[in-house]
Symmetry: C2
Subunit: 352 residues, 2 copies
């Protein structure tokens, strides 16, 4: 089964073979189409005393998951020597059954089917997300340390929960960590149609913050604009429109001369230079992605005379740097936004 959901593909990992373990695995980094294999492994033993068995329900594919497989991402899953290929199962396409493997995927919703004797916080039937990066989401089930999991409230759908750990917190925390935004303030972002970009639009709208949203021109640009406006976008512009010099005056009219305090960048390259030129004094440019693979190039005067500060944001680092209580606090906040329909993607779910 294959789901399409917003910017992401989700695949259902439910299976008729409840006992055997199926997973999407790779031995070595490279082009996912070449190095990934779907493989059946011998059933795992019962979870250890501090572990729970999690049946994975839905897992998205985030762009970063591809980078992890390619080996161009600083995070990597642990090498799994505990998985034993099922006797007689196909070892097609050159897959070497003798070698340890990595299990792909970083984000998932699962349900607890069995808990170790020392586990108090989870029981069978609890729905959970991973509270640690790169545990291996693309599997039918996993035995995991209870400490590596967090509970999902009952009123949060599987589809919402499967994608709540990375993109919505990235949006929420970027809006909050670098500058103090008041209702009526303005921000600008590129890649506005990305999963994070859509969450930024929605959360900013919930805060009363105005957004200028940059997207690539495309044949169905009007539909995209309508969709982003429906999410709460104040303005949507293509990069071409932004580069037009007359646009500076136009934007000043929109903002009533108020300076734009925050820029969010997931693209890089010359369009990001242009976008940064729209920021006001003492503004912050936060980069969380690099879809163009081009560097960020900025005149020095932006730093010295406009007092621009440039930061990076990486949700994995935020989780690593914060306590369990802080992490659970963010999950609770995101679940609250989902519950209030303040974060709700225009889901494009494709079922087979």
């Amino acid at each position: 089964m294959n789901f399409r959901f917003g910017q992401k593909s989700l695949f259902s990992t439910s299976s008729r073979q409840n006992n055997a373990l199926r997973a999407l695995v790779y031995h070595k980094n490279g082009n996912p189409a070449e190095v990934m294999r779907a493989q059946t492994f011998e059933p795992l033993g019962k979870p250890g005393p501090s572990q729970v068995r999690v049946k994975l329900l839905l897992s998205p594919i985030n762009p970063a998951d591809i980078n992890v497989i390619e080996g161009v991402y600083p995070d990597a899953p642990i090498l799994r020597s505990d998985l034993v290929p099922k006797a007689g199962a196909s070892s097609s396409l050159g897959y070497d059954r003798e070698k340890p493997v990595f299990v792909g995927g970083n984000e998932a919703i699962g349900v607890v089917t069995d808990a170790g004797t020392a586990v108090q916080e989870f029981k069978a039937g609890d729905r959970v997300i991973f509270d640690k990066s790169q545990l291996g989401a693309w599997a039918t089930y996993q035995n995991l340390e209870a400490a590596q999991l967090a509970k999902v409230d009952e009123d949060i759908s599987d589809v919402a929960a499967a994608t709540m750990r990375i993109n919505p917190p990235t949006a929420l925390l970027m809006l909050r960590s670098f500058t103090t935004l008041q209702p009526g303030d303005w921000i600008i972002q590129n890649g506005a149609n990305s999963a994070v970009g859509q969450a930024v639009i929605q959360i900013a709208a919930a805060l009363g913050v105005n957004t200028i949203n940059l997207v690539r021109n495309r044949p169905d640009i009007n539909n995209l604009m309508i969709r982003l406006h429906a999410l709460g976008a104040t303005r949507v512009l293509t990069y071409n429109e932004l580069a037009d010099k007359a646009m500076k005056q136009e934007v000043k009219k929109w903002t009533n001369g108020k300076s734009i305090k925050l820029g969010l960048n997931c693209v890089g390259g010359k369009d990001t230079t242009t976008m940064t030129g729209y920021l006001g004094k003492d503004a912050h440019l936060v980069s969380y992605g690099a879809m163009s693979k081009s560097p960020i190039s900025l005149p020095t005067s932006y730093f010295i005379f406009k007092n621009l500060t440039c930061h990076g944001y990486w949700q994995s680092k935020w989780y690593n740097d914060h306590s369990k209580a802080d992490r659970l606090g963010v999950y609770a906040e995101i679940m609250d936004l989902i519950r209030q329909k303040k974060v709700s993607y225009a889901a494009r779910v494709t079922e087979p």
Copy 2:
């Protein structure tokens, strides 16, 4: 008279005409060689009740002073309509005696010759620096508000005092404002032979902080290296040496694998990209100049995965943003560093 002092030219503004006002002035922005004029004005009246008359003793030429005259700097002196060209004085080179003028220069040491009736904090003979930007330093004397001045301690030489307001505080505050440096830590800077660069070397050495100092290659490079080492530089490298890939390993040996926490940039362009590649995780790149006039171009991964933060630093802004007490505190700190010979340029003073 003309003084050369470190990176700067200083000219003595003493004059035999103690009564008339001589100043370097311009009507309009442009190439200093074309728009600047030395002009004699009618003597100024007595200082007002809250004013003092300051006889200017020495004024440096900072690179930014040239940018102010060119009109490419965000700071500008006020237009002076109070200056009346002296009757009969030459109006050579097309200078228009009827138009208001700007007086050039931003930094100076002067001596109080006369104080208004309401002035309590200064008396004749007190040596002072400007406590406000762009008051017009290139004049024989000025009547200035007492509130715009700060006293210089008696044991600070004229030469040291004339250049204490801009460059040494820039060095001190950049070292302190963005990260906490401990003895044994490492920083890297380009333009290390600039006035700020030399102050950075000296203040860092006083703090026990190691410096890697980047300079352009030149015929007398060995002499420059010896001079910077004598100031306290830990290492000096040319940009060519830095760009050599083997240098990364060499620098790791110097730092014993310790990560470089702060980069100071007054150049921009590709050498700054290379320099930034030497910074460790969670480092800060601070730009305070742009001698190459090229932008700063950095891979997005530096921001996201190395958690680099890029800032600008502008001493004029720092002064504007801080209280009189804070400003006096910084002057006192710099005078203390001068007194302890921790900030002492290798002065190249040229007298006629």
